[in-house]
C-alpha cells in the first residue's frame, strides 16, 4: 500500500513537471528591465504598469498566435550596474527572446554591447540618440530623438527672433545627452548658447544659478532640459526672480506632475511633446488618435493616475515587439529582422518606420509644440 502510494505520488509529480515544462515551452518569454523604483521611477513606474496592463490584455485575448506571453519584469532602480546584472540574468537564466527597457539612457548605453553579444533584441524606452546612432543591430528605441526636440525648440526660437540662449540641464544621462545635442545643432539655426549650466538631479533650490544667468543681459530665452523633478524648481526660481524670459523645456517636461510641482510658474512654458498629451484634441482621422485615446483611457481606468508619454514609450516598445513576434514568431534573430521591416506603424510616440539604418523609427513630426495654460497641457499656437 505504502509502495503504491509512493509510486502514485512520484508519477503525479512527474506528470506535473511534464505539464509544467510543456506549458513553459509554449509561452513567449519577454524580459523587461525598468527603473520601477529609485530616482527614475517616474519613468519606470508608468512603463512597468503599462507593460503589465498590455501583457494581461494580450494574454486575455489568447496571446500572440496562440502563445501566451510570460513577462519577466525586473526593477533596476535606475542603476546601470543593476541593469547589467538583471539583463544578464534575463538573458542567461530566463532565456528571454527580447528585453524591453531600460528606462534611462545611461542604463541603455551600458547594455548596448551586452545585447549585441547576446544577439537578442533590446527595445529601449530611453530617448538619447547615442542609443541608435551609431546603429547597433540588436538595439532599438521608441522615444523620439533628443535632436528632434532640440530642432523643434530652435525652430520656434527662430520664429520668435530669439538667438541668444541660456541652457540649463540636469546631470542625468538625459540632461547630458540633451546638452550635447543642443550645442551641436544650435549653429544650424544660428542660435548662440551664451550660458550653459548643469544642475544636480537632487537639487533643492537653484535660485543662485538662476541669478547668475539672469545677470547676463544677452540671454533672450532659457532652455531647461531635464527629466527630473528639479526642472520644476528651475522654472519656479526663474519666475520668483521676477524674470519674464521665455522658458523652453525638453520633452522630459511631458508629465503633468511637473506642471503641478511648478504651479503658477509653469504657465506659458513651451516644450515639444508626443501627441499623447493631446490625444483628445487630435482630429478624428489622425492615425494615432484611436490608439492614444484607448491607451490613455485604459491606463487611467486601471491605475487611477494620469497617463504619461513615458508609459507611452513602453506601450510602443511592447507593440513593436508584439507586431514583430506576430510576423516572425518567438525567435530572437527573426524578431530583430521583423522590427527592421516595420513600416507606417502608428504608436503613442508617432508613426514608426524602421529600417536597417534607422532603429528609432520616428521623424521630426512626431513632436508637437505644447504649452501650459491654467495648469493643463495645450497645443502651442505661438501667441
Amino acid at each position: 500500500m505504502k509502495g503504491l502510494m509512493r509510486k502514485t505520488v512520484t508519477a503525479a509529480a512527474a506528470a506535473c513537471l511534464l505539464l509544467a515544462s510543456s506549458a513553459w515551452a509554449e509561452t513567449i518569454k519577454l524580459g523587461a528591465v525598468l527603473a520601477v523604483t529609485g530616482p527614475a521611477s517616474f519613468l519606470g513606474g508608468p512603463e512597468a504598469r503599462t507593460l503589465e496592463m498590455l501583457v494581461e490584455e494580450v494574454n486575455a485575448k489568447g496571446g500572440i498566435n496562440g502563445q501566451k506571453i510570460e513577462l519577466f519584469l525586473k526593477d533596476t532602480a535606475g542603476s546601470p550596474e543593476k541593469a547589467i546584472s538583471l539583463a544578464k540574468q534575463l538573458l542567461e537564466e530566463q532565456q528571454v527572446v527580447t528585453v524591453l527597457g531600460p528606462s534611462t539612457s545611461g542604463e541603455t548605453m551600458s547594455l548596448k554591447k551586452i545585447f549585441e553579444d547576446a544577439r537578442t533584441p533590446l527595445i529601449s524606452c530611453a530617448a538619447a540618440e547615442v542609443i541608435v546612432d551609431p546603429v547597433a543591430s540588436y538595439v532599438f528605441k521608441t522615444p523620439q530623438n533628443d535632436s528632434f526636440a532640440a530642432r523643434k525648440i530652435f525652430m520656434e526660437m527662430n520664429r520668435m527672433g530669439a538667438s541668444k540662449v541660456a541652457v540649463l540641464v540636469d546631470n542625468s544621462g538625459f540632461g547630458k545627452a540633451g546638452k550635447e545635442q543642443i550645442l551641436k545643432i544650435a549653429p544650424e539655426y544660428k542660435i548662440e548658447v551664451v550660458e550653459a549650466e548643469v544642475y544636480d538631479a537632487k537639487a533643492t533650490d537653484l535660485s543662485a544659478v538662476v541669478a547668475k544667468i539672469k545677470a547676463n543681459p544677452a540671454v533672450q530665452a532659457v532652455i531647461n532640459w531635464s527629466i527630473v523633478p528639479a526642472q520644476s524648481i528651475v522654472v519656479k526660481n526663474i519666475r520668483q526672480a521676477g524674470w519674464d524670459v521665455p522658458i523652453f523645456q525638453s520633452h522630459g517636461f511631458g508629465n503633468i506632475k511637473y506642471v503641478e510641482a511648478a504651479g503658477a510658474a509653469a504657465e506659458g512654458v513651451i516644450f515639444p511633446a508626443g501627441r499623447l498629451l493631446m490625444a483628445d484634441l487630435l482630429p478624428d482621422g489622425h492615425p494615432q488618435k484611436a490608439l492614444l485615446v484607448k491607451y490613455v483611457k485604459d491606463y487611467e481606468a486601471k491605475y487611477k493616475e494620469t497617463a504619461s508619454t513615458f508609459g507611452g514609450h513602453a506601450y510602443d516598445a511592447f507593440m513593436i515587439f508584439e507586431k514583430a513576434v506576430t510576423v516572425a514568431g518567438p525567435d530572437k534573430e527573426k524578431i530583430r529582422a521583423a522590427i527592421e521591416g516595420l513600416k507606417d506603424l502608428p504608436g503613442t510616440g508617432g508613426i514608426f518606420n524602421f529600417s536597417a539604418t534607422d532603429h528609432g523609427g520616428l521623424a521630426l513630426d512626431s513632436f508637437e509644440m505644447m504649452t501650459v495654460k491654467d495648469g493643463k497641457f495645450v497645443p502651442y499656437t505661438g501667441k
Binding site: 543662485a208 521676477g242 504651479g263
Partner: protein
C-alpha cells in the same frame, strides 16, 4: 558684481544655509545626549513634509503642520524607545548602524505610503510666482518663511537649553552622563527627549521648506549628508556653531556659482569638509581639548 546680484546670491545662500543648519542642529542635539550621530535625521525632515502634505487634506495648513510635527516627534520617541533605550552600553558603531538601518526603513516605508512622486505644500503666502523685492533682488516670500522659522527655532532652542530646567538637565547629561545620573537626572528620559526634540525641529523645517524644495521619499539622505558636513564644520555638539557653519557653507555654495560651474557646487562643500577634517578636525568653532575627550 552688482549689489542686486550680490543680494540674490546672499539670500540663496542663507536659504540653503538655514536648512543645513537645522539638520545639523538635529544631529547635535542627539549627539550631545547619546554621543552618536543619528543618520535618520534627514528622514525626520522628509516625514515632516510628507505628513503635513497628508494632513493638509483634512486640516488647515497651520494645524496640519503642527500635527505633522507632533507625529514626527512621536515617531522619534518611538524609535528611541524601541531601538535605542534597551541597549546596555551600546558601542558607538552599533548605534550608528542602527540609525542607518532606521533611515533606510523609514525611507522605504515612505516610498510605499506616498509613492515616488514629488509632493509639496502650497506656498504659505502667495504662490509659485509671487516675489518680494529685497534691496533690488527678488525673493520668494517662502524663502523668508524658511529663514524666519529656522531663526526662531534656534532662539527657542537656546532659551530652552539655557533657561529651563529640562534644558539644563539635557545639557548636564551631555556634559557628563555619570555625574548627571548622580544628580538624580534620568538620563534615559533625556535621551528620549533629545530624539523627540530633534525629530520635531527636523519636521518643522521639512514642512516649511517643502514648497521650495519639494518633498520626496528620498530627500533625507542628501540633507543628512549636508547637515553632517555642517555639524562637523561647526564642531560636533555645538548648535550655535552649526548655525554659523550652515550659513557659511550655504553662502559659499551660492557664491561659488558665480565663479565655477554649478556642477562643482557639491565638490566645493565636500572639499571644505575634507580641509576641515585635516586642519581642524574638531570643527571651526570647537575646541581640540574637548574633542580629544570624546569617544567619537
Amino acid at each position: 558684481m552688482t549689489v542686486e546680484l550680490f543680494i540674490q546670491y546672499l539670500v540663496a545662500g542663507i536659504t540653503y544655509g538655514s536648512i543645513y543648519a537645522i539638520v545639523a542642529i538635529g544631529f547635535n542635539i542627539i549627539y550631545n545626549t547619546t554621543g552618536i550621530i543619528n543618520f535618520a535625521q534627514g528622514e525626520f525632515v522628509m516625514l515632516g513634509g510628507m505628513l503635513s502634505i497628508t494632513f493638509l487634506q483634512l486640516l488647515p495648513l497651520p494645524a496640519a503642520i503642527a500635527l505633522a510635527v507632533l507625529c514626527t516627534m512621536a515617531i522619534g520617541a518611538a524609535i528611541e524607545m524601541l531601538f535605542i533605550r534597551w541597549l546596555v552600553n551600546p558601542g558607538v558603531l552599533r548605534m550608528i548602524i542602527i540609525t542607518i538601518g532606521l533611515s533606510i526603513l523609514i525611507r522605504e516605508a515612505a516610498l510605499h505610503i506616498w509613492g515616488d512622486n514629488v509632493h509639496s505644500l502650497p506656498y504659505f503666502i502667495g504662490n509659485e510666482v509671487s516675489t518680494i523685492a529685497v534691496l533690488g533682488a527678488r525673493v520668494s516670500p517662502q524663502v523668508l518663511w524658511v529663514i524666519g522659522v529656522c531663526a526662531l527655532m534656534v532662539v527657542f532652542l537656546n532659551v530652552f537649553f539655557q533657561a529651563t530646567s529640562v534644558g539644563r538637565e539635557m545639557r548636564a547629561c551631555a556634559a557628563n552622563r555619570t555625574a548627571a545620573i548622580l544628580c538624580g537626572i534620568d538620563t534615559r528620559n533625556m535621551v528620549t527627549l533629545s530624539f523627540v526634540l530633534s525629530a520635531g525641529i527636523g519636521a518643522l523645517a521639512g514642512a516649511v521648506m517643502s514648497p521650495i524644495t519639494y518633498t520626496q521619499y528620498d530627500i533625507g539622505t542628501g540633507l543628512a549628508i549636508k547637515g553632517f558636513t555642517v555639524a562637523i564644520l561647526g564642531g560636533l555638539g555645538n548648535s550655535l556653531a552649526a548655525v554659523a557653519a550652515g550659513l557659511l557653507l550655504g553662502i559659499i555654495e551660492a557664491f561659488s556659482v558665480s565663479i565655477v560651474p554649478l556642477a562643482f557646487q557639491d565638490a566645493i562643500s565636500i572639499a571644505i569638509l575634507l580641509v576641515i577634517l585635516f586642519v581642524r578636525p574638531h570643527g571651526l568653532f570647537g575646541s581640540s581639548a574637548a574633542a580629544g575627550l570624546k569617544e567619537f
